[in-house]
């Protein structure tokens, strides 16, 4: 259940946002830490479709699939993050849990405006973690609360403005 480390990316600040940074291969993702209910080892999490922990049932969430990457099931550091937003509860397998990080909100970067579609509701922004970039993921997307995905338009040449967006200030 212990985390590797608690890294402060900036000096103590009441305006800090806190994230759990996880790794898939070389990619880092950041989950708002207030949704993290626990971190389990492979043995603790088991192999079922759900994880029951302290009276709550967490459904498996294929975050690697959402990110179009593959979970390294052979990783010795594989962990299951128990994550909840109060309504939905997800068990997210990751290659490694890097640690908790506190970031000054002013150091949270928004997703560049060139990203114009539904991804603006998936990715809340970006932070730097030890010089590496981590995508801050929207818990509602991670937990499957945003409904159906927009189908990919192969070879589409036009970009439609997608107006809904996650406010960076809400998560960062």
């Amino acid at each position: 259940m212990s985390l590797r480390g608690h890294y402060k990316a900036a000096s103590a600040n009441v305006q800090a946002a806190s994230f759990l940074v996880v790794r898939y291969g070389t990619r880092l993702c950041a989950l708002p830490s207030d949704g993290v209910r626990g971190v389990l080892t492979k043995e603790e999490a088991g192999n079922g479709q759900t994880v029951a922990w302290v009276g709550v049932t967490y459904q498996n969430v294929d975050l690697a699939g959402l990110l179009s990457i593959t979970l390294d099931t052979t990783s010795p550091d594989l962990r299951t993050v128990l994550f909840s937003n109060g309504h939905s509860h997800g068990a997210i397998r990751v290659d490694e849990v890097i640690g908790l990080v506190e970031v000054d909100r002013e150091h949270c970067l928004p997703l560049p405006p060139h990203f114009q579609r539904v991804e603006r509701t998936w990715v809340a922004g970006m932070i730097f973690y030890r010089d590496e970039l981590a995508l801050v993921l929207n818990p509602e997307w991670v937990l499957g609360e945003l409904g159906e995905e927009v189908p990919r338009e192969a070879g589409a040449k036009t970009i439609g403005a997608f107006t809904a967006s996650v406010e960076i200030g809400k998560l960062c």
Partner: protein
């Protein structure tokens, strides 16, 4: 469409000569106006971002700066070539964007405005084309990459 073509012709006619950067993607020669190019640096590792915006699905880090990547190679149905590919920074209307180009060092050219004519290309936004060594080279509208003509005219 007609308005866009007229604007392109007006742009072509407005300058006595054009300062152009010629680069290549997957062996295809392309050009851009020098004022639309923010620099050329070694290519870095892409950081994929789940995305539904066509041709915008990753980021690259340059020091403390993060640039969205425009996958012009995919739009052209090509792949950038060479062992040490380069990053061409486009001065896009929404902010700088990175484009992965071939390892061949881009070259600077001055092209007489009279040699520049409207491009026939429909798959990417262009500001014209010119012929060099018998090869027609399209001048990519880096500022408007990913924008439809309609969107470009509104801005």
């Amino acid at each position: 469409m007609l308005r866009a073509a007229r604007q392109q012709e007006q742009a072509v006619a407005a300058k006595p000569s054009w300062s152009i950067v010629v680069f290549s993607i997957g062996g295809m020669k392309l050009a851009a106006r020098t004022e639309d190019v923010g620099g050329v640096t070694p290519w870095g590792d892409r950081i994929p971002v789940p995305s539904r915006t066509p041709f915008v699905g990753s980021l690259v880090k340059r020091d403390k700066e993060v640039l969205p990547v425009y996958d012009l190679a995919s739009q052209l149905d090509r792949e950038a070539q060479g062992e040490s590919m380069l990053c061409l920074v486009a001065r896009h209307v929404d902010g700088p964007m990175a484009i992965c180009i071939d390892a061949d060092i881009p070259s600077l050219h001055t092209v007489d405005a009279a040699q520049i004519r409207p491009s026939r290309r429909q798959d990417i936004e262009t500001v014209g084309s010119f012929t060099s060594d018998g090869e027609e080279i399209d001048i990519v509208a880096l500022q408007r990459l990913g924008k439809t003509r309609h969107e470009s005219l509104r801005q």
